[in-house]
């Protein structure tokens, strides 16, 4: 009995070893073949680990990336959106791109943390990784080629500067933020908190998960809790700002005069609301940086050194007139 068990164990080990060998052989073979295919078709294969439907900004950004990395420009883009914003599905897509042996990977992470091990695997496979929009935490620049994004801290501090100018005597304000833990939420909070004057009172900071519906429900309760004594709302995206505007109207107040609402992103819907006076200040978070991304990917594949942090320039809209002027040419 004892003997057979031992023999079985050894046999099992040997089998496992054989399988490991054959697997290694398999993966070696397949990566060779994809490399060959890549050079034959003369298209650069790029895997895009994306976020998927989230809001107007995200749609504009991902459409722009997909349009830029077109077959005409010499790219074969594989688009892999996350399943309902789940990071696990992104990691799965990322690893399968590595196994497939793509030439480069571009990544818009849903969460900032937890990317070290897959990024290391990409490095071992010598696949350059370009981060779009959201960065990673901890920010280890040796793990990726470049991070292309508008400057969240700068944008929200420009919003705070506008608020400082509007309310020289200070005001009571509420922050509607995205889901806790995202790097964009942390950055937008940081830029705002560092710049806003000391005579402003922060009544509350609540997450509304980027959603119009939740923002409306959250802000109607905040208005009741403070007897409508709120002068300013800093909504960290357009959708939440629009939800807050609905709650203000529902309470019988006038957005723009009774409560001023600041939003970040600059989608068409927000600019229309700004032109109608329902929002007061919209800071653009420029989503159109597909061309920059192409340059970076090409440079990385050519072996050139690329700057690890590239800031996309953005503008702000502080009046209905500015919004009306920008609306006809707005792409998103």
């Amino acid at each position: 009995m004892f003997k057979t068990a031992k023999i079985r164990g050894i046999a099992g080990l040997a089998l496992a070893g054989a399988m490991a060998f054959s697997l290694a052989a398999c993966s070696g073979g397949s990566s060779d073949s994809t490399d060959a295919a890549g050079s034959d078709g003369e298209l650069t294969t790029v895997g895009f680990v994306a976020v998927g439907p989230e809001g107007g900004w995200r749609t504009a950004n991902e459409q722009n990336i997909q349009d830029s990395f077109s077959k005409e420009n010499g790219f074969d883009l594989k688009y892999a959106p996350a399943t309902n914003g789940d990071q696990n599905s992104q990691i799965t897509a990322f690893t399968s791109f590595i196994d497939e042996g793509v030439d480069a990977i571009i990544l818009s992470a849903t969460e900032a943390t937890g990317w070290e091990s897959v990024l290391k695997r990409a490095q071992e496979a010598e696949i350059p990784v370009v981060l779009l929009d959201r960065g990673i935490e901890p920010n280890d620049t040796s793990l990726y080629t470049s991070h292309i994004a508008p400057d969240n801290v700068g944008i929200s501090s420009s919003a705070a500067e506008w608020a400082n100018g509007q309310f020289p005597d200070g005001a009571k304000y509420v922050v509607l933020e995205g889901p806790p833990g995202l790097s964009v939420v942390n950055d937008r909070n940081k830029g705002w908190d560092d710049t806003i004057d000391a005579n402003f009172t922060k009544l509350e900071s609540q997450s509304a998960n980027w959603s119009t519906e939740e923002a409306k429900s959250v802000f109607e309760t905040i208005l009741k809790a403070n007897n409508n004594d709120v002068q300013l709302v800093f909504a960290q995206n357009d959708e939440m700002g629009l939800g807050a505007a609905l709650a203000v109207e529902e309470a019988g107040l006038k957005p723009g005069t009774d409560v001023k609402i600041i939003t970040i992103d600059g989608t068409k819907a927000a600019l229309e609301a700004l032109a109608a006076g329902r929002l007061s200040f919209v800071a653009e978070y420029n989503p159109l940086f597909g061309d920059t991304a192409i340059e970076v990917v090409k440079a990385a594949l050519a072996g050139e050194t690329v700057e690890s942090d590239i800031v996309v320039p953005s503008v702000t809209f502080d009046s209905p007139e500015a919004a009306t002027e920008a609306l006809p040419t707005r792409k998103y």
Binding site: G52, G181, E213
Partner: protein
């Protein structure tokens, strides 16, 4: 103590305490009291001078509870048949997507367009319900797997309908469903309450409720007693999907936007929680519609309380979880205590049961 008092008084106390949702009522009252301590005017309802509607925190809670109530009622019936419907959140998104897409394309903001949009949305929802029901009853797939598939497929469908975009529309009658008032009361809550009443009459004044329960308690025995489970199961899944469709209309009409990735997201959890809090067992069988309505009210109150008390957003899921865990624990303890009491009555009092009984009475 209860044994010492007169039997009639004792039975009144036990019937009240015996209601499975008693702890949900206690928690609901407790949350309102906490809010009252923070702001003594919390329960006050005033007439808004500029809009002429009733306004107040209670009104907000009633309004927020309406969609949860709809999916919780549907979920109760499904759970009573030993099933589960994970697809309700996705059906909400589909229904919202259908109505918003239709209204944004058809342009004019007339009542006719609003009614057609709602009818279309409910029709598509019912279709998803038929798929669930047929797969569960005729094909015999497990409800968990079946509705998990429709949950994933449903959100995909919503994204296809709107081409992945968050779609807005303008239609005053449709917006009125979620934001309007009748005699000062929110329309959503009135519609919700009416629908609950209709469902309650249907299942409690006819044999339907008994049949649903018998399928949940023992499907074989039910079949032998002459109940045809296929028809009832399909009907139950259709009702659940249509109610989810109504919930989807409620929640998208409130902002007149469907957010395909967010509308109804994890609403199935809210619905299941409302059912469990209401005292219906996930093992099927006996169900309580009143309990589920109270559960829905509790969840809406909890969501509003979190914001009202300015609990930091990073701590909100934990706060919600703690409250719900406490309620569930209290319920299970009560069940165990009742069990011990029954044992004590049927057998000559074992010594351990005395402290347990004392606990029940004091609690």
């Amino acid at each position: 103590m209860s044994q010492a008092s007169s039997p009639s008084r004792g039975s009144v106390v036990t019937t009240i305490v015996r209601q499975p949702y008693i702890w949900a009522v206690v928690a609901l009252v407790l949350l309102l009291v906490i809010n009252l301590i923070k702001d003594p005017g919390y329960l006050g309802i005033s007439v808004n001078s500029s809009t002429g509607n009733l306004s107040g925190n209670i009104i907000d809670i009633l309004r927020a509870s309406a969609p949860i109530m709809m999916i919780a009622i549907g979920m109760t019936l499904v759970i009573a048949t030993r099933g589960i419907d994970l697809s309700v959140g996705s059906v909400m998104a589909v229904s919202g997507a259908v109505s918003m897409e239709f209204m944004s394309n058809s342009g004019d903001g007339s009542v006719g367009v609003a009614v057609t949009a709602a009818a279309l949305a409910l029709g598509v929802s019912a279709l998803l319900g038929v798929i669930n029901g047929v797969l569960v009853s005729v094909v015999g797939l497990q409800p968990f797997i079946t509705t998990l598939v429709t949950m994933l497929a449903g959100r995909g469908l919503a994204k296809v309908i709107t081409a992945g975009q968050n779609t807005s529309a303008t239609n005053e009658p449709f917006r009125w469903i979620a934001n309007g008032t009748v005699f000062g009361f929110p329309v959503v809550f009135v519609i919700g309450a009416l629908i609950v009443a209709v469902v309650a009459v249907l299942v409690r004044r006819t044999a339907l409720g008994l049949m649903i329960e018998s399928i949940g308690i023992n499907p074989k025995a039910a079949r032998m007693a002459g109940i045809r489970p296929i028809g009832i199961l399909i009907a139950v899944y259709i009702v659940s999907a249509v109610l989810a469709g109504i919930a989807g209309i409620f929640s998208t009409a409130s902002v007149m936007t469907v957010e395909v990735a967010k509308t109804g997201l994890s609403s199935e959890m809210d619905a299941i929680l409302a059912v469990v809090i209401g005292g219906t067992s996930l093992a099927g069988g006996k169900f309580s519609l009143t309990g589920s309505v109270i559960g829905a009210l509790l969840i809406a109150t909890l969501d509003k309380t979190i914001v009202f008390l300015s609990i930091p957003s990073s701590a909100t899921p934990a706060f919600k979880a703690v409250v719900i865990v406490i309620i569930c624990l209290l319920q299970s303890q009560r069940v165990r205590a009742l069990f011990a009491r029954r044992k004590a009555i049927s057998t000559p009092t074992p010594p351990q049961s005395t402290p347990t009984r004392k606990e029940t009475v004091s609690a």
